[in-house]
Symmetry: C2
Subunit: 410 residues, 2 copies
């Protein structure tokens, strides 16, 4: 098959057009899942799918799938992502993967071409999790690990349930969930991190998604006068928190490049200059592409916190806020991404995804891969989120080649 | 001179009686400086002084001094402290020193005795600093290092000025400040720390007051996604804050027992689990009885913070919130306290004061000392503040002996 030509201007225009729905004054977008703004965004995408001659189904959790039929009746090769945003989001996170998928279909259609397998483009409900937990909800129901009833009963930060809101906006679809067969899945996404931008690399060959461990620690000590309490008589919750936070950094040095650790939230009580803190609540975000190392680091962290607290006479409780094992994408798809980028003369490097994506859920049901393009200054979940037009086009061209190759496999 | 007998029951009753003025529901006292409650407390103490036949003067900053005349016209030996409290204070902080001084005078009067030198009892305005900064305001004006006009113009947390409030409550006195001659000054006080209570020691022989250095650090880094930002690309203000906080603890280990350090206040922004902190604001409270070691520790802290921030690519600003050099009390008075406690069979130990007291200001103008009694569990500035009656009496008996010895010197 000859490679069809992508309409670059239309791709860029479609990002602006979808981004105008739920636009924030001064820049950025707010289309929280299942709000009126989300409905308008969905309506826009569904209309575009229909205009491209795709058959569109909406399933019971509101996932939308458009199918551009193939020459053979087989499971589709699927491109996809999400079109909901965080409260102060940008134009690219999620939307780019969906709209680029539609441009690939448009290019095929404009050229009068059909692939052996169908090509599907999906948008999954509530990937962000900003209104309803958990995130990646639509893909989890689609893949089967989250029961539909449980997802529909989920109550959001504003008290509404997923089921009620799906009905309200007209996206409680008729298609059953869990009945899908997918040949393979590809998600094109902005990196949402600084690596490609800082290294001036155009294409990220995503090998997998890091495992995540979020722990919240609550330390309880004794408040006392900072001037009159000798060091050896202290039960200083603030000191233990600071020591555990520095240990988290030490863990990253011990385990090397793929182990990352962040203490982003830390609150002391009573938080006064001259009073020893009687309470510290803080979180540790550990991530690693290697599940065994992540589990080791997690245990080291917990043991260190317990021992340091005990030595200070401080009570230490912890609870898990999130835990995902790492995901490795299909090696054959990863290799294809790498080869295609090279053939097109695009600089590229392998890297893991630091953020979560629907692709990590789809990877449980079919061969899956991801393509990253640079995020300027690594910014995302931010109205300043930006990717250069040339990079948006380069990523879409890699996606186009990849989808055709996968769909044309024997 | 025969030692007169202290009326133990009356001392304890007077603490309860003064503590009933401004009493909080459920326990504790609130007599913030120059409020109506403070006026009522002052009125009670002044009436008690007059009832003891003392001549009372109120100076221009509202300090009250009662003098029990001696056999000779000489500068008085002075006992004193303060009767203002913090917002949720106890019965003992300050009040104890003033009321015990009055009981010493009462004992002399009841026995028909007069010492060679006069014995004065003083209460100093606004020692706590809870409503008007700085603390120890009355003693600073009395001693001369804080100009009267500056003190009177001070605006409090509620917008009122010291001068207006002194006039309003009738304590803008006629006596000039800075005209006082004091032979020697002794302050009896609860420890406000845990040392005596934990070691079951009855009398603290106070050698001096620790020097204090309060530094506020403001660190500015870059917020980024905790999952997608490699460790070596971070500018994590939270990590630098935690590392500096643990270094403060290391300093206390390096410099030994008299160096103390507290990070009581620490605030991260945006304070989210999965976002690297772009700002950390925190305070370090360093104290030492040795001024040279304190200055060394302070410089080490500042240098370490600057170097750690620079290595992380984080901007570091600092400002001094407070700085007092350590004070050493008069060795002859310290020796006397120690000897008297021993003679009375009271267990005792030397220790520094961790908190600030009017005595450290008086020490600039005359030989000065302090006597501590235990605070149960080290609590103070707290409605749970408590000292056992037997300890209150023991401390007052040491004060009585000390005042008589000082007043009877040739």
């Amino acid at each position: 098959m000859t490679t069809p030509v992508l309409d670059q201007a239309r791709l860029l225009a479609s990002l602006q057009e979808l981004g105008s729905i739920g636009a924030l004054p001064g820049g950025g977008v707010c289309r929280l899942a299942l709000t009126d703004a989300d409905r308008l965004g969905r309506d826009w995408v569904v209309a575009r799918m229909r205009a491209l001659g795709m058959s569109v189904t909406i399933d019971a959790i509101g996932n939308g799938v458009g199918v551009y039929h193939g020459l053979e009746e087989r499971a589709p090769v699927m491109a996809g992502s999400h079109i909901d945003t965080v409260r102060t989001g940008g134009l690219y996170d999620g939307n780019y993967g969906v709209l680029a998928g539609l441009e690939v279909v448009a290019a095929l259609r404009d050229a009068g071409l059909r692939t052996k397998r169908p090509i599907a483009v999906a948008f999954f409900t509530n990937e962000e999790g900003s209104r309803f937990a958990p995130d990646m909800m639509g893909s989890l129901v689609f893949q089967g690990d989250l029961p539909l009833e449980q997802a529909l009963a989920t109550r959001g930060i504003d008290g509404a349930t997923v089921g009620d809101e799906l009905r309200r906006i007209g996206y409680a679809g008729a298609a059953p969930v869990g009945a899908n067969s997918v040949d393979s899945y590809v998600e094109l996404h902005i990196e949402q991190g600084p690596v490609l931008d800082r290294e001036a690399i155009r294409i990220g060959v995503v090998e997998g998604v890091q495992g995540i461990s979020w722990t919240e620690f609550t330390l309880r000590g004794v408040s006392n006068h900072a001037g009159t309490t000798p060091m050896q008589m202290r039960n200083d919750a603030g000191y233990v928190a600071a020591r555990v936070a520095t240990f988290a950094r030490e863990l990253t040095q011990q385990h090397g490049g793929n182990q990352i650790a962040t203490v982003g939230a830390l609150t002391l009580s009573p938080n006064l200059i001259n009073v020893i803190a009687n309470q510290a609540v803080f979180t540790v975000d550990l991530r690693n592409t290697d599940g065994a190392v992540l589990a080791t680091a997690e245990q080291q962290l917990w043991d260190f916190a317990a021992a340091t607290a005990a030595a200070e006479g401080v009570a230490c409780e912890r609870r898990a806020l999130a835990r995902f094992d790492p995901v490795r994408f299909d090696p054959a798809i990863v290799d294809r991404v790498e080869r295609i980028a090279g053939e097109r003369g695009l600089s590229h490097r392998r890297l893991p995804s630091g953020a979560g994506h629907d692709a990590q859920i789809l990877a449980r049901m079919c061969p899956t891969g991801m393509i990253f393009v640079p995020s300027v200054n690594g910014l995302s979940h931010n109205v300043e989120e930006y990717t250069k037009p040339a990079d948006l086009i380069a990523g879409a061209q890699v996606l186009l080649q990849l989808l055709i190759e996968l769909a044309e496999r024997p």
